[in-house]
C-alpha cells in the first residue's frame, strides 16, 4: 500500500473539489462519510478513488442527516473523520453539527456553497454563511475557514483537522461551487515535510481498561435536565471559545493604513476585491482590502480598527447581506459608513467593484 499520496511537494493542476480530497488524504484523515450533492461530488469521487490505495475508508449514507451523524460516530471511535456537503445538504446536516458543538466532537465539514433558498441552483453562492457560522440550535461554537483559492482549500483542509482536534470544536471549510469546479495550479505537499505536525486522533469511546477500576466512565451528553445545568455548560463553553478565539482568528488586510475606503469581502469574492484594490491603487485611489479568513471566530477587533481608521467600508458578497451582518455586528459602534454590493447566487467581478468605488469616491 502506498504510504503517502504526495512526497515532498509539487505543482499540480486540479479542481477545487479534488484539492479538498487530496488535502484530506495528505492531512491523514481516516474516513469520509457522505451523501452526493452538487457541487461537492468530486470530493467524494476522488476520496473514494484514493481511499483503497492509502488504507482510507468511505461510507455513503442514505442522506445528509446520516452522513453528519456517522461522521460524529467515526470521530467518537477515534478516527479523523469528515464529510462534505452543500445547500440543502448543509441544512439537513445542522442537527449533527450542533450535536458536535454540544459534545465537543472534532468533526470536519467541507461546505461548497450553492444557490438558495432550497434546491435553487447547483452552481454558486455565498448564501450559506449564516447557516455555516450560526446554524443549528445553539450558539455557533464552531470554527469556519472561508477559502478564496485552491491553495487555501489545500492549506485549510489540512489545518481544519488540526484545529478541530486541538480545540475540539467542529471545524468547517467554507468554499463554493466556483471554487469546487474551477481549475488552477496548486502546490500540493506532504504537511510533515513542511514541518506541520498533524495531531493524532484519540478515541472518545471504547477506551481500554475497566470502568471504575482503571478509568472513569465516559459520559458524553447533549441533553440536560434543568435550565441551570444547561446554562453552566453553555457559559463555560462560551468562555472557552472566547479564550481560544484569538489564537484561531485569521484575516488578510492590505493597504488599509492610509485607505479612505476598504473593500471587505470573504471567500472567492475576495479574489475580485483584491484585483479591484490593486487596480484602484494603481490609478491613485486610496483603497484598502480586508478579508476575514475565519468567519467564526470573526476578526472583529481587527476590522473595527480598520473601519474606524478608513471611515468607509464597501462590503461585497454573493448573498443578500449575510456576511454584512457579521461585519456590522462586529464593528458595532464604529462611525464608519457601509456601502454594499450584494449579488445573491451570482459572482462578483473586479470591474463591478472598481466601477462602484469610482462612482462613490
Amino acid at each position: 500500500m502506498a504510504e503517502k499520496p504526495i512526497q515532498g511537494e509539487r505543482k499540480a493542476f486540479l479542481t477545487g473539489n479534488e484539492v479538498v480530497a487530496y488535502a484530506a488524504v495528505a492531512g491523514e484523515a481516516d474516513i469520509m462519510y457522505g451523501y452526493p450533492i452538487t457541487p461537492q461530488n468530486e470530493i467524494m469521487h476522488y476520496w473514494t478513488r484514493m481511499a483503497p490505495k492509502y488504507g482510507k475508508r468511505f461510507l455513503q449514507t442514505e442522506d445528509e442527516l446520516s452522513a453528519g451523524f456517522t461522521t460524529l460516530g467515526g470521530v467518537l471511535s477515534g478516527a479523523k473523520a469528515f464529510t462534505a456537503t452543500a445547500g440543502p445538504g448543509n441544512t439537513l446536516m445542522q442537527e449533527p453539527m450542533s450535536m458536535a458543538e454540544m459534545m465537543r466532537i472534532p468533526a470536519v465539514f467541507v461546505i461548497q456553497q450553492r444557490g438558495g433558498p432550497s434546491t435553487a441552483t447547483v452552481i454558486y453562492s455565498q448564501q450559506e454563511v449564516t447557516m455555516t457560522t450560526y446554524g443549528g440550535n445553539g450558539e455557533g461554537f464552531r470554527v469556519v475557514y472561508s477559502t478564496a483559492t485552491h491553495q487555501d482549500l489545500f492549506d485549510y483542509t489540512i489545518k481544519a483537522f488540526n484545529t478541530a482536534w486541538k480545540y475540539r470544536f467542529p471545524t468547517f471549510v467554507l468554499g463554493d461551487g466556483y471554487q469546487a469546479k474551477m481549475r488552477e495550479s496548486v502546490t500540493i505537499y506532504d504537511p510533515q515535510a513542511r514541518g506541520i505536525e498533524l495531531i493524532k486522533p484519540t478515541p472518545y469511546l471504547g477506551k481500554p481498561g475497566s470502568i471504575g477500576k482503571d478509568r472513569e466512565v465516559t459520559h458524553m451528553r447533549n441533553t440536560y435536565n434543568t435550565e441551570e445545568e444547561l446554562y453552566e455548560v453553555v457559559m463555560s463553553m462560551a468562555k472557552e471559545y472566547d479564550s481560544v478565539a484569538p489564537e484561531i482568528v485569521e484575516f488578510d488586510a492590505r493597504e488599509v493604513d492610509d485607505a479612505e475606503i476598504v473593500i471587505v469581502s470573504h471567500g472567492v469574492v475576495s479574489r475580485a476585491a483584491l484585483s479591484a484594490m490593486l487596480e484602484l491603487r494603481g490609478a491613485g485611489y486610496k483603497v484598502g482590502y480586508f478579508r476575514p479568513v475565519t468567519l467564526r471566530p470573526f476578526p472583529g477587533d481587527q476590522l473595527r480598527k480598520v473601519a474606524d481608521n478608513a471611515k468607509r467600508l464597501l462590503v461585497v458578497e454573493s448573498a443578500l447581506g449575510q456576511f454584512n451582518k457579521l461585519v456590522q455586528t462586529n464593528i458595532y459602534g464604529s462611525a464608519a459608513t457601509i456601502d454594499t454590493i450584494f449579488k445573491p447566487g451570482v459572482g462578483v467581478t473586479s470591474e463591478e467593484i472598481v466601477a462602484k468605488i469610482k462612482a462613490t469616491l
Binding site: 499520496p5 505543482k11 499540480a12 493542476f13 486540479l14 479542481t15 479534488e18 487530496y22 452538487t38 457541487p39 468530486e42 476522488y46 478513488r49 434546491t119 447547483v122 452552481i123 466556483y178 469546479k181 474551477m182 481549475r183 488552477e184 495550479s185 500540493i188
Partner: protein, 221 residues
C-alpha cells in the same frame, strides 16, 4: 476529401473540450465543414453550452444544449439531444467532446453508428499535471480502463503556471506510456502564449504541436 471523425476522451479536467474546440477551429480554417458536438453527459460544468454562439461565429456547426432549455442539470443528470444521437449522419468532419472517465467513454455507445464508423478515431487527452495521471503506470491504467483508444494527446499544463519545460516533460511521460500501450502520440498541445517555444511546430520528441487558444475558462456554466 477524407472525412475526419474524432472523439476526445480522458480524465476529468484533462482538456478534452479545449482540444476538441481548437481542433474544430483548425479544420474549419482549412475550409472544411465541421460539426462540434457536446457529448458530455457526465458533468454539467465547463462544457460547450455557454460558448456555443461564439464558436458558431468561428465557422463551426455546434450541437449542444442551450442551458435555458435544460431542467435539473447537475441535479437530475443530463440527457442526449436527438441531434447528438444522429450526429454521425452529418456531412463533413465530426469532432466529439466526450465526458470524463470510463462513464464518459461509454457515451460513444449512444451515438448511432459510432462503434462501426470506419473513420472514428478516439483520442485520450492526457495532462501529466493531473494527479490521477501523474505517472506512466497511472496513465496506462487510466487509458486501458476506457476501452477503445487509438492515440494519446499530450495536453500537459499547469494553467497560468505552465512553462515550455512542463509541456516537454509531459510529452516524455505521455510518449513512454504510449509506447507501452502500443499507441501513437497524435500531438502535443501548447497554449498560444508559449507557441514561440515550439518554432518548428513540433515538441522535442517530434510530436506535432497543436496551438491552443483558451475558450474554456469562460465556459463555467
Amino acid at each position: 476529401m477524407q472525412r475526419l471523425v474524432e472523439a476526445y476522451i480522458g480524465e476529468y479536467a484533462s482538456g478534452k473540450s479545449e482540444n476538441a474546440i481548437n481542433r474544430a477551429i483548425e479544420l474549419a480554417r482549412q475550409g472544411r465543414k465541421v460539426t462540434l458536438v457536446d457529448l458530455d453527459l457526465v458533468e454539467p460544468f465547463y462544457t460547450l453550452r455557454p460558448i456555443q454562439d461564439e464558436l458558431r461565429q468561428l465557422g463551426i456547426d455546434v450541437v449542444a444544449w442551450e442551458t435555458r432549455n435544460t431542467m435539473g442539470l447537475g441535479e437530475a443528470g443530463n440527457i442526449l439531444k436527438p441531434e447528438m444521437k444522429w450526429v454521425l449522419r452529418r456531412e463533413g468532419d465530426i469532432i466529439m467532446d466526450i465526458g470524463y472517465g470510463v462513464e464518459g467513454a461509454k457515451t460513444l455507445n449512444l451515438v448511432e453508428g459510432a462503434l462501426t464508423d470506419p473513420d472514428l478515431k478516439v483520442f485520450a487527452v492526457i495532462n501529466v499535471s493531473r494527479p490521477m495521471t501523474f505517472s506512466i503506470p497511472d496513465i496506462i491504467e487510466h487509458v486501458q480502463g476506457m476501452g477503445l483508444v487509438q492515440g494519446l494527446l499530450n495536453n500537459t499544463h499547469l494553467g497560468d503556471d505552465t512553462t515550455a519545460d512542463v509541456i516537454e516533460a509531459g510529452a516524455e511521460v505521455v510518449a513512454e506510456a504510449a509506447r507501452l500501450l502500443n499507441l501513437p502520440v497524435v500531438a502535443t498541445s501548447v497554449d498560444e502564449r508559449l507557441a514561440a517555444h515550439f518554432p518548428g511546430g513540433v515538441d522535442r520528441l517530434g510530436h506535432p504541436v497543436r496551438i491552443l487558444r483558451r475558450f474554456m475558462p469562460k465556459a463555467f456554466w
